[in-house]
Symmetry: C2
Subunit: 344 residues, 2 copies
């Protein structure tokens, strides 16, 4: 507790009158140490407030006990929950997590990956900005473990843990169809991001199954942001005839859309049914209102981390896994009740 700058293992050894290696042995319980010297060493450690330098041991072991988490934006409650799942699982196994927000920028993604590799993280959990396999390969070429989170990467041999975007979207839209809706606008995410593409595909499939052809599709695409949701909803409202329902591809798009509807004086669900991907965490809303396909965000983070750590331990088999977690459609007020037969 006395020194300002950190004591080293040599200082401890000197004070205890032993060799550094002996101190190392008591610290790591490796090899035999007599009770007497162990006691002396432990006292010296306490007296100096000695904290072992894990950097040095990492340099030898080639293991840092740190993983990187590269996602788009922790500020989105979905990612927040994922991050918490990751951190909990990592912590359980004695690992730490370095958090990186890309804001869906490929540049930032590249920058973060490089730094993480330089810092010798043991593994990386990556939510890839685009479907290109390059970033994944960049990591793998350094011999670092990587698990892709949330999104598919078609041309890479890599473990993926994600949710069932296609199925969730399909069931949400089917629900709307069952309620009698036939003019359903899809406010989709960005093209080239697998979750966005899969959700649009689910929407299409649902329409096709009830015999609606391509001409019935009302698809908008854009970033997963509130601003874009607002704008896409506005445009949807100008369609003739106007859609009777909206399918939003994620929580932010839904919130933006709801604001647009409110500003346009369109009531939900009376004038417009709304369903969305991503439920808001139970703890954040007093009266849940949105019919949503809830993703098991926490479990996704947790399982991806477990898989990554299993890989680090040399387990998990040779073949890349594609773990798809189920989504659950939760019906609430925003989807409304069966539509009265009218014009369309």
């Amino acid at each position: 507790m006395l020194r300002q700058s950190q004591a080293t293992i040599r200082d401890v050894a000197r004070l205890a009158g032993v060799a550094p290696a002996t101190v190392s042995r008591v610290l790591n319980r490796s090899g035999y140490v007599s009770e007497r010297t162990r006691a002396r060493v432990e006292e010296a450690i306490a007296q100096l407030g000695y904290v072992p330098n894990r950097l040095a041991s990492s340099l030898r072991f080639k293991r840092t006990g740190t993983i990187g988490l590269v996602l788009s934006d922790v500020t989105n409650p979905f990612w927040t929950t994922v991050a918490r799942g990751v951190e909990d699982a990592a912590s359980d196994h004695g690992f730490n997590v370095i958090l990186c927000n890309t804001d869906e920028s490929e540049q930032e993604q590249e920058r973060y990956i490089t730094v993480l590799l330089q810092k010798q993280v043991d593994g990386i959990l990556l939510v890839p900005v685009r479907s290109a396999p390059k970033p994944v390969e960049q990591i793998q070429n350094q011999g670092v473990a990587v698990v892709v989170l949330d999104r598919r990467v078609p041309n890479a041999r890599v473990d993926v843990v994600r949710c069932d975007s296609f199925g969730g979207a399909y069931r949400l839209v089917r629900l709307l169809l069952t309620l009698g809706h036939r003019r359903i606008a899809a406010l989709g995410g960005p093209e080239g991001v697998s979750t966005a593409d899969d959700r649009v595909a689910g929407y299409r499939q649902a329409l096709a199954e009830v015999g609606l052809d391509r001409s019935a599709e009302l698809i908008f695409r854009g970033p997963f942001t509130q601003a874009c949701g607002y704008e896409m909803a506005q445009r949807a409202l100008t369609l003739e005839p106007r859609p009777t329902a909206i399918f939003a591809a994620n929580n932010f798009i839904a919130i933006g859309a709801l604001k647009a509807l409110r500003d346009a004086g369109v009531r939900v669900p009376e004038d417009m049914a709304v369903v969305t991907f991503d439920d808001l965490p139970e703890g954040l809303v007093v009266e849940p209102f949105l019919t949503a396909a809830a993703q098991p965000a926490y479990e996704m983070g947790q399982q991806a981390t477990e898989l990554l750590l299993a890989r680090l331990a040399g387990r998990g088999g040779p073949k890349p896994q594609d773990i798809v977690l189920p989504t659950e459609v939760i019906v609430r007020r925003s989807s409304g009740t069966a539509l009265a037969r009218s014009g369309a």
Copy 2:
């Protein structure tokens, strides 16, 4: 791009036909290197896909370019926003952030601090679980920079960046008083946490100023959780005569309280006015409803990080700073309008 396990600076040197030191010089642009050898070295680097090992250089420089962020729970949107502010500011300066969730457990806090110190982080941003100075001192004794976030630590000489809990609470309660309320329940946070204590103090001060003495105080205390908010609100409803307003000490307590009120059939604001500390992020709610004292969470994270990094750079003066950011009271529907004079 060929090797699976990482190439070292020696491999690059060998391939380029130079000494490791020369490679180091081209990497860090230190010292003179002829154009020709520089080109050769750079080609070798590219060919091997060489990534410098920052662990090794950190070991020498005693700088890791990493800071630790120890907070209670990223899942709370307030902390999420703080974390984002921290990460952005750190990233701007080339630093990375290790995220640690304590869940307000002193044990976890201790464990995380120890690991962070072992990993030789350059600094720690700490939201202390308790007001005791020990954890702060533990960090300082290792010669590691620390800035305390959000909460005061009375007996420590340490930089603090926080929000004005006392003032925010005071103004919220004053608002209720102005509207005519006299029986106001305070659903406070845990004792011994400065933000909780300060908010209760603000509540008391506001009451005192209108001549209400201790007997008018209706104070509940407990953890900053939704469950506790629910339970405290339930108890508040059993008071005789029943309070006409509730002051919640944070967002989770408020949400729990609102659920309790809903379950009890008590309308807000008609039957009960509600005000709270912590606004929910603008992007998370369609129709903001709660009258709240909004804290500049992002700025808090950002400024704390800037201060920490300034300390690392040897700037910021000798005296610990206590930076208090203002809170802004945002009046919405939940606080209701002026109370009609009735019984109380």
